[in-house]
């Protein structure tokens, strides 16, 4: 802001995808191998739940590395009231990774990084409202009998750290995102999370509370692939097709479905959903792989 009373164009308004200096303001362990990292990013544009950012690290010798991370919290991304825009990333350490070991193992409050984004216009909630003249609308018609995308019930399905953008969606819903579709008018949502062990449940306590406070409108289910919780009637193991169809909203509800995880997880889940009658254009996917 200039002192002359005329707001200066922010740097990001001139180039929305330039690199922005950011500062780590909080780190919190979430699982044995994962962490959430809160960043202050002055000049950031408001982010939508489901979006990601590119993060750049610079070494002493000038070497730089860039990776993409989903945002797990966008509620403070608009800043305001004297606060700079703030976002939270959720990061799983990859054994052969370049950036994730630093974020999970070394990064400290006060460390500088750079951020580009937010990025992504499809894997977002509230869902993109199509421009009726655009090519996208013409080729991805809404199924007959389906509620408008913003009013549709939402099924979130995440594998491992693929939970991250889905947590952003649940938090945005609870915060009353985007007026009409948030708050009391928010559609029902279910989250199905697949994790290795009970200790690998991301944001477990918060999600449990969020469901408890939702008057039955939010439900959270976990399946465990390697170690089941004590007393569980389900043995540990990968999510199966039958379990998915039992836990997910049925195709007849015309839910919007967001699936995020490794490619093999997403490929299995999305394939089962389509086979069970879900409209492929209502199944939005985000896949990660590689280091």
């Amino acid at each position: 802001m200039s002192d002359e009373g005329v707001p200066a164009l922010s740097d990001q308004a001139r180039d929305p995808f330039r690199w922005l200096p950011a500062t780590i303001t909080a780190v919190a362990p979430q699982t044995p191998t994962g962490r959430s990292v809160v960043l202050d990013v002055p000049g950031l544009r408001p982010a939508r739940a489901g979006q990601h950012v590119d993060l750049r690290l610079t070494a002493d010798d000038g070497y730089q590395a860039v990776r993409s991370y989903s945002l797990s919290d966008v509620r403070a991304s608009a800043g305001g009231a004297g606060r700079v825009p703030q976002v939270e990333l959720t990061v799983e350490e990859l054994p052969d990774g370049e950036v994730s070991p630093w974020l999970v193992g070394s990064a400290e409050v006060g460390d500088p990084v750079e951020v580009r984004g937010p990025i992504g216009g499809w894997f977002v909630w509230p869902p993109t409202e199509f421009d009726p003249d655009s090519a996208v609308h013409a080729v991805l018609p809404e199924p007959e009998g389906a509620p408008p995308p913003g009013r549709s019930p939402v099924q979130l399905i995440g594998g491992g750290s693929g939970i991250a953008p889905l947590v952003a969606v649940l938090r945005a819903r609870a915060a009353g995102a985007a007026g009409a579709v948030g708050g009391a008018d928010a559609p029902p949502m279910r989250l199905l999370g697949s994790v290795r062990t009970p200790a690998d449940r991301w944001f477990d306590a918060e999600l449990t509370a969020l469901a408890a406070e939702s008057a039955g409108e939010v439900r959270v289910d976990w399946v465990h692939t390697r170690e089941a919780p004590a007393g569980s009637t389900r043995a540990s193991g990968r999510l199966t097709r039958d379990e998915l169809l039992a836990l997910a909203l049925p195709a007849s509800d015309h839910p919007l479905v967001y699936v995020c995880g490794t490619n093999s997880f997403v490929e299995s889940v999305a394939g089962w959903l389509v086979d069970a009658g879900h409209d492929p254009t209502r199944v939005r996917t985000e896949r990660f792989g590689g280091v």
Binding site: Y63, W122, V283
Partner: protein
């Protein structure tokens, strides 16, 4: 920005990498939705002069070229020295004249991406059905995908169904979702 956070170099730097890219040994998948179930494959090539429809057998009968090249994904990974085989778009458009300068690619599943025709003709683009000597897998766009290695890889539309020239440029699916209308990796045309 000076680095003073203890972050150190962990990867080789290679002059074949465009700015902001890193080497990837695997082959990550980027798709907006489920892998489509293609029951009957047909490829449509269209200009204002007309449309050519090719069955799978028609397509297989066309001369296939071997391509060795690097690929660059907008999400910042690159693979070097990959091997592909497919039919040049010069062959697919042969005899279909056009004054148009733009094209829209349509894929099975409904997704679209727009490209300048100058990036599709002149030995720069193929429809490929083979990757590293094997039939192209469905999650990577098989049975056949567009292949435009000079641009970020989302322009290499998976599950290609049609390529239609157009008089004026329009944005496709990815481009209307925040990706750059052109996508040159050497200019870092990632987002717009």
């Amino acid at each position: 920005m000076a680095g003073f956070t203890g972050f150190g170099r962990r990867r080789e730097v290679d002059p074949r990498l465009p700015p902001g890219q890193h080497l990837e040994k695997g082959f990550p998948v980027l798709s907006a939705g489920p892998t489509p179930n293609i029951k009957r494959w047909e490829l449509q090539i269209g200009t204002e002069q007309g449309t050519r429809s090719l069955s799978w057998a028609d397509f297989q009968a066309l001369p296939h070229e071997q391509i060795e090249t690097d690929i660059h994904c907008v999400t910042s990974w690159s693979k070097l020295g990959t091997h592909w085989a497919g039919v040049s778009l010069d062959t697919l458009f042969d005899g279909l004249d056009t004054t148009h300068e733009h094209a829209m690619t349509t894929s099975y599943g409904g997704y679209t991406t727009n490209l300048p025709l100058s990036e599709l003709l002149g030995g720069k683009a193929w429809v490929v059905d083979t990757y590293e000597g094997e039939p192209l897998g469905a999650e990577h766009g098989g049975p056949a995908r567009l292949f435009v290695p000079g641009l970020y890889f989302w322009k290499s539309a998976k599950w290609v169904q049609g390529i239609q020239t157009m008089a004026t440029d329009r944005r496709g699916f990815w481009e209307s979702m925040g990706y750059h209308p052109h996508g040159d990796p050497w200019r870092e045309e990632r987002y717009a």
